[in-house]
């Protein structure tokens, strides 16, 4: 009981070898998955880099647990696992934000594309009305937008 209260004297909690092996295997499987996704054209290279970095970090962390302890010490966290969780969480948060930025850009691009298409069709209609039925604009244009072949 006194051990719990005097936490400062407790030894640092390290990763077990079992954890390290599982992490290493997962990292390798993860990177193979990324490769496969790229091969199938389901993931673009530019979006895969960050995932490779994540997989490699996982592998490095599993191979050299001393690194994690150093980081945990620097953060003032006694439990290496907690330091690991915190870092992964921050990484995912940053990634999610990055995706929101990408999504916003693509939304803006899609909007502009839709606007261009709409304007193009309206211009076509305007040109047809001024060419074909000058003066009787009420008749023209019923099919103006549909027959743009």
């Amino acid at each position: 009981m006194s051990n719990l209260l005097l936490g400062a004297q407790e030894p640092t909690v390290q990763l077990t070898s079992q954890t390290r092996i599982i992490a290493a295997v997962l990292a390798v499987v993860f990177m193979l998955m990324i490769l496969e996704l790229i091969r199938q054209d389901r993931l673009q290279e530019r979006y895969s880099i960050v995932w490779f970095v994540a997989g490699l970090s996982m592998l490095v962390g599993a191979a050299f647990p001393g690194l994690l302890s150093v980081i945990a010490d620097a953060l003032g966290v006694r439990d290496t696992n907690v330091a690991l969780f915190s870092m992964v969480l921050l990484f995912l948060l940053a990634l999610a934000l990055n995706f929101s930025v990408i999504m916003s850009r693509q939304a803006a691009q899609i909007t502009r594309l839709a606007q261009e298409r709409a304007i193009e069709a309206a211009r076509k209609q305007a040109a047809q009305e001024s060419n074909g039925k000058r003066g009787s604009s009420t008749v023209a244009g019923d099919t103006a937008q549909r027959d743009e072949s």
Binding site: S104, A107, T111, R112, A114, Q115, A122, Q145
Partner: protein, 263 residues
């Protein structure tokens, strides 16, 4: 004076033809464009039958994107002035004429039609909003005044008239999420002359308002964020697109509209 009057419309088949005819009756010389914002009803067909040009967005993009489409069309088409009004029949075309006269006379770059004749009151003889709406109106009015240091009474009015300076600005920068308020803030920040004049508005002809209490709350919250962010936006973003998309190239590439299209 080449003028474009455009009408953003989303599923407004019931009212859109009447609105177009109203405009044609009052302003025979203007071109009328309906920006069909991905309607799933007969809005586009009825608009075309009523003699308007129709720019159909392939899917619903929101009011901001629809309005921007109108401004972009006006800019590309070489129109000197443009105006827009709602498709639901709340905005009498006669009042749009009054707005346009203000920009014709070069008394302002952007003119807003306000449904409040008396700036101090949140309601008028013609128009009595619900409580949640009154709160929203008050909040927006307060913060927009704070942000622009100019008094606006009807911050969400969708009846406006503008000249080419405004077209250029709005075709590049227009929030898809919060069309009315942010655009006002943006215009004032860019040093454009924005003026509000009292207009008479009517009850809607068809369709229903999209505002429920929950939506209103979300609407207000979103509006406040937009205003807050807007205060810290760069003031002269001439070369940078607001959302990473620049309309510059496309605008230059667009050929001027042929003559003889006014009638």
């Amino acid at each position: 004076m080449r003028t474009l009057v455009f009408i953003p419309a989303w599923n407004e088949e019931a009212a859109v033809a009447d609105v177009i005819e109203g405009i044609r009756g009052r302003m025979p010389d203007v071109d009328v464009l309906v920006v069909d914002d991905g309607s799933t009803d007969a809005t586009a067909t009825r608009a075309r039958a009523a003699g308007a040009l129709v720019a159909s967005l392939p899917f619903n993009q929101g009011l901001g994107a629809a309005l921007q489409t109108g401004y972009l069309y006006a800019l590309r088409g070489g129109y000197e002035y443009c105006a827009h009004l709602d498709a639901d029949g709340q905005h009498p075309p006669a009042e749009v004429v009054r707005l346009l006269e203000e920009v014709y006379a070069d008394r302002a770059d952007l003119v807003i039609g306000s449904r409040y004749s008396d700036p101090g009151r949140a309601e008028s003889d013609d128009y009595r909003p619900t409580l949640s709406r009154r709160i929203g109106i008050g909040v927006f009015r307060f913060f927009l005044t704070l942000a622009t240091r100019q008094r606006f009474t009807d911050t969400t009015s969708g009846m406006r008239a503008a000249n080419r300076g405004v077209m250029e600005l709005f075709s590049k920068h227009y929030s898809p999420d919060f069309a009315e308020i942010e655009s006002l803030q943006l215009a004032v920040r860019q040093g454009l002359r924005v003026e509000e004049i009292p207009v008479r508005m009517l009850d809607r002809l068809g369709g229903t308002s999209f505002l429920t209490p929950l939506r209103s709350a979300f609407f207000i919250f979103k509006g406040l964020i937009v205003l807050l962010v807007g205060m810290f936006r760069p003031r002269v973003p001439a070369s940078v697109g607001a959302h990473g998309v620049s309309a510059d190239d496309a605008i230059e590439a667009g050929p001027p509209k042929e003559e003889g299209m006014e009638q």
